[in-house]
Symmetry: C2
């Protein structure tokens, strides 16, 4: 059996090509031929590694999620060992904004998939929700910690606050993508929000 290249790596290559196409020309422009051309392989190869287009889309989505999670994990790993709650929250907020090209791609393609999932039943929204819920839990934990440290007022509802943080950062991310705000403008709003949360 001529396993010249690693199967998984090839799939990853193709998935990334799809993401690149989707980021530049939109998810509607993602065609098997376009992905093949972008990844430098033949149409047949794309067919071989992902049997159908639906599989291709799902595979690329999973790849994107995994990459995004890895990036977030790396970001968290950079924080000091007893993680300072406010720094953690700030890291999340800046990470949630499309600052660099990769982040912009994550947001744009992720949003495209989310919109697709609103009408297409073959694309379950469940993974999105699970991902967001996980982040929200992490934020709530950090806020609880901050509350114990006295940096956040005792009365606040940490889970609702976490929901506000996630929703706000996500909304600002889309606004930046649309061009309503630049990154600085969005950061201003986020810092303002943080100031109302901490040290009250």
């Amino acid at each position: 059996m001529p396993r010249t290249v690693d199967h998984a790596e090839r799939r990853a290559r193709i998935a990334e090509a799809l993401v690149r196409v989707a980021a530049q020309e939109g998810l509607h422009a993602v065609t098997m031929r376009a992905v093949a051309a972008e990844s430098g392989v033949s149409l047949r190869l794309v067919q071989y590694y992902f049997d159908t287009k639906e599989q291709l889309l799902l595979g690329a989505l999973r790849h994107l999620e995994q990459q995004s999670r890895q990036r977030w994990a790396a970001r968290v790993a950079e924080l000091p060992s007893p993680v300072p709650p406010r720094a953690f929250v700030e890291a999340f907020l800046t990470e949630a904004l499309p600052t660099d090209e990769q982040s912009r791609t994550f947001h744009l393609v992720g949003t495209s998939y989310a919109v697709l999932a609103m009408t297409d039943p073959s694309l379950t929204a469940e993974p999105f929700i699970a991902n967001v819920d996980d982040l929200q839990r992490q934020l709530a934990d950090a806020l609880r910690q901050a509350q114990a440290d006295g940096q956040v007022a005792a009365g606040v509802d940490v889970s609702v606050e976490a929901a506000r943080l996630v929703t706000l950062s996500h909304g600002l991310g889309t606004s930046v993508l649309i061009g309503q705000y630049d990154v600085d403008g969005a950061m201003t709003v986020l810092r303002y929000h943080l100031d109302t949360l901490f040290r009250r």
Copy 2:
């Protein structure tokens, strides 16, 4: 010239059919034939009233915006004559959530267009931004009024607060669309946010 039906009304009919298709099957499923079938006219007619597909999409978008603005204006008109600022803000927030079918359609199709505008240069994001900016200004005005009435603390930055309101409600709207929250859950977050804003 057999002007049997009103030109503008026919265009509106077709535009609404497009919105219906987009809301049910996604913007990618919008095809001239599908719109023709949904509006009960022939393909040729769609071609006649909107020369090209791009024109059709643009026309439907304009129609959607106008309808949305009308709905908001009607909602505002229902308020007592010296508009109570908090009621105004609350009206905005509940209106921003996809509570009924029409509102859901507005959100879903609007978001689809916004995502499309991220990659397609023929669809300028400018109208979106202008619309949002306008709402944001209205909210800022209401907040300023509330500040004068003493319902809102003097120190707060009304324009940033307005930005937070818009972003938060929009983000919650999409979350409801995705299925992460139901309308009640989203309303809980909004009320929480309102309570931190007013009567501080």
